[in-house]
Amino acid sequence: MAMATDAPKDGFRLSMLIYDTRYRSYTIQLVVLVLFALAVAWLLNNTAQNLAARGKVFNFGFLWQRAGYDIGQQLIPYNNDDNHFRALLVGLINTLVVAFFGCIFATILGVTVGVLRLSRNWLVSRMMTVYVETFRNVPLLLWILLSYVILSETTPLPKDFKVTDEMIAAGEAPKASMILFDTVAVTNRGTNVPAPLFERGLGTLDLGFMSLNLTFWAVVAVIAGSVFVNRRMLASARATQEATGVRPVTWWKSILVLFAPVIVLLVAMGFHLDVPVLKGFNFQGGILVAHSFTALLIALTLYTAAFIAEIVRAGIMAISRGQSEAAFALGLRPNRTMSLIILPQALRVIIPPLISQYLNLTKNTSLGIAVSYLDLRGTLGGITLNQTGRELECMLLMMLIYLAISLSISTVMNLYNKSVQLKAR
């Protein structure tokens, strides 16, 4: 006797579309799809009507028109005769530069603070707690504005650096002096840092649509080559160790491989630093780093580091005590315990939230608008938008670019995350 009976074979009724679980999900999806399509159609229709009413057409041709505005910080050649697209690229690079350095500095500071907060030293751990809570609970905008105001309103004027003969005769010191062995001058106009210069540089290679700075790329290529050779060397040392039980001495070879080629290359190209010097009323030579950049970088670093510190602390605390006790029982020293047992497991917990902090930092660079830092939002979404009056195109393009940046960062970091995850058996 069959225990299970087939479902009753009634004819299909319309009400089954709602009450029968076999069909209900299709009904719901259909309704959602229709509503969504209607909403999109409504929005597109409105947009078309509004554009027509304003007499505008939706196209991106304006990107090739003359931009006509200057950008203070430009890492690729740009002048106000270039087109809006070039300005967009300059802005995009400015965004990426702040994000890149911000991520590096925030990680260094954040990991340090996170570890120190777990320290058994009462004073240090309390100080780190105060730091983390202060920076986490106050808006980022405040830190950006405050660091900008402090940098631009409390720093000395360039003329305060002046040393006159009378002052030497009277034995007086100037009101302000340069720091870091007289190479860096912080004035109210910006930070003057030394510029790397080459007497016998390799020049630039013009590719038509862009030009390559050969000197820069030669240095990058040599460093990359050194790192690659060093890794191969360490791998072969490891193989020898596993085969014979004796690890060949590598530290001096590593140092040689990593540093000698770069130094040789730099000397060959006549590398020297162009130190800023006070001439007349302002500093000449070197690079002038605008305070908007410095303030944005400082604020982003301090703010994000507070979050990263919490992530690192949580990651280390998530590893059960048994793990470190087991490591000690095996006779591992504390630093080996950290590097071989705790960190590999903690990284598993740390990496995913760290990715989202990097994403947040990158998106927060758009707050540079508060200090007139011309990043992607300042160029494409700011001056270009105002000049051409093409809100729709500019905003869409800007959102797409930010989206692309976010997605690529999260893809890269997710790949890294996969490589540190425990392999499930």
């Binding site: 959602v32 058994r120 986490r136 405050l146 994403l359």
Partner: protein, 485 residues
């Protein structure tokens, strides 16, 4: 061996020695210092560096705090007073600026004669939150409502509230206090009507506008109750929504006009551009928080759903919103919404910003709640199915209470992030406390060049609110903890 030994000794102690206090280095402050500050050379170095840092901070900022000036009319006068009191070259804080401008930091350009309205709305906010935060706990409810009563009595008197609204407000809070003693659960009704009340208090206008708008929800519910026995639950809900939308679109204005003609009860209406300071931040923050949670839950459920289209749409929405900076969304609110809406529509900038901020927070909340849903053991879902619960009952009774509990810390930190992000509305021309108001103050010839004081003032208020939220989340986490660790 031990026996022979025992026989050879001449003295065996027969009583226990009284315990001796541990050596000086192993107890009290000395032991604590050694264990916590000077245990290893590295620790000693850290302690010394830390002490130096603390000393530097205190020595450089203490005179500034001690020389604070509270009575002056300009920064120059402040500096003269500091120089007169503490000698030439001394630094001193100039809190006189806060004393003169505090109202702009709190209310923006809200008319001073109407300050009692935001104050009342702020006080009642806690009356509306308390039944949600401390559901059914008579003691906590009484404490919160008592605090609200005291707060309102003091601040409303200071703000010079006219007699009638003052009496009405106090009567309302006293009534709630009484209700909390008898039926604390009923207080949730106040939470339900609070949004309309708050809107009316802040923006003013006819009292009938929020009442008629809220009546739409009443109509929705009535249609749903009447129609559901006839045509079933889902179609009845649909019908209710359709009727309510028709009510809001077509009958709303007329009804308000008629009712206002019969009983003209109105407050002076205030424009959105007069809002500013923390009033603006709190309006945007609280509304965003209140609306983003349900939307976030729906998005998270949508993302977990088996239905391909629902899932795709949810994922697309979440990833898009999370991939772009909030600033671009705010600019969308101020620049692009006019393209997407029918020609001629123009609605309030604060409302537009609130909508976009809500969506932004909802996408982040959705991811956080998804984490909670994923962390729940598979068995919970299967148990709910085994009990024969339908989807919404299973979610409401089994899944969401546990998933939300897991994600409380992350949800609250998203809320904190949202509240901090309200400062970004400065970039679309609204007057937030940080950039908007501070810029106005710093542009004043009297206060030109002041920077620590406004930022410290605003920063401390933000800190208190955000820190309070994070402490509350820790309290909630402890209270809801059910595992036995």
């Amino acid at each position: 061996m031990s026996e022979t030994h025992a026989q050879t000794v001449t003295f065996v102690r027969e009583t226990m020695l009284p315990p001796v206090a541990p050596p000086l280095g192993e107890r009290g402050a000395v032991k604590w210092l050694r264990a916590n500050l000077f245990s290893t050379p590295l620790n000693i170095a850290l302690t010394v560096i830390g002490l130096l840092a603390v000393y530097w901070l205190i020595s450089s900022s203490l005179p500034w705090w001690l020389n604070s000036v509270w009575n002056a009319s300009s920064l120059g006068e402040c500096r003269q007073i500091v120089a007169a009191n503490a000698g030439e070259g001394a630094t001193g804080a100039c809190w006189a600026m806060i004393r003169e401008r505090w109202h702009q930091f709190l209310f923006g350009f809200y008319p001073p004669s109407q300050w009692w309205r935001p104050i009342l709305a702020f006080g009642l906010l806690f009356g509306a939150l308390a039944p949600v935060l401390f559901s059914g706990q008579k003691r906590n409810l009484t404490i919160v409502l008592g605090a609200v009563l005291v707060f309102l009595l003091v601040t409303l008197t200071l703000a010079g509230t006219p007699g009638f609204p003052f009496a009405l407000a106090i009567a309302l809070v006293v009534g709630m206090l009484a209700l909390a003693q008898v039926q604390p659960g009923k207080l949730l009704w106040f939470t339900l009507i609070y949004p309309a009340l708050c809107f009316w208090l802040l923006w003013g206008g006819s009292v009938w506008a929020p009442i008629v708008a809220m009546a739409g929800f009443g109509i929705l519910y009535a249609v749903f109750r009447l129609a559901s026995p006839l045509i079933g639950l889902a179609p009845a809900a649909g019908a209710g929504i359709v009727v309510a939308v028709l009510w809001w679109l077509y009958a709303d204005k007329a009804a308000v006009g008629v009712l206002h003609g019969i009983l003209p009860l109105a407050l002076q209406s205030i424009n959105s551009d007069q809002f500013g300071g923390f009033l603006l931040a709190i309006v945007i923050g609280v509304t965003g928080i209140a609306f983003s949670l349900p939307i976030g839950i729906l998005l998270a459920l949508g993302r977990q759903s088996d239905m391909l289209i629902v899932k795709t749409l949810s994922v697309g929405f979440i990833e898009f919103i999370r991939g772009v900076p909030l600033i671009t969304l705010l600019f969308t609110a101020s620049l692009l919404l006019q393209y997407f809406l029918p020609p001629g529509t123009n609605f309030d900038i604060i409302l537009r910003v609130i909508i976009l901020v809500t969506f932004f927070a909802a996408a982040y909340l959705a991811e956080v709640i998804r984490g909670g849903l994923a962390a729940l053991p598979r068995g919970q879902y299967e148990a709910a199915d085994a009990l024969g619960l339908d989807y919404w009952r299973a979610q409401r009774l089994i899944i969401l209470p546990q998933a939300l509990k897991i994600s409380i810390p992350a949800i609250v930190s998203t809320f904190i992030g949202l509240f901090k992000d309200t400062t970004l509305v400065a970039f679309v021309g609204l007057m937030d406390p940080l950039k908007g108001v501070t810029q106005i103050v710093r542009a004043d010839i009297n206060w030109k060049g002041i920077y620590w004081e406004p930022y410290i003032f605003v920063g401390v208020i933000f800190f208190v609110i955000c820190f309070g939220m994070s402490r509350y989340s820790m309290y909630l986490e402890r209270k809801l903890k059910t595992d036995h660790r």
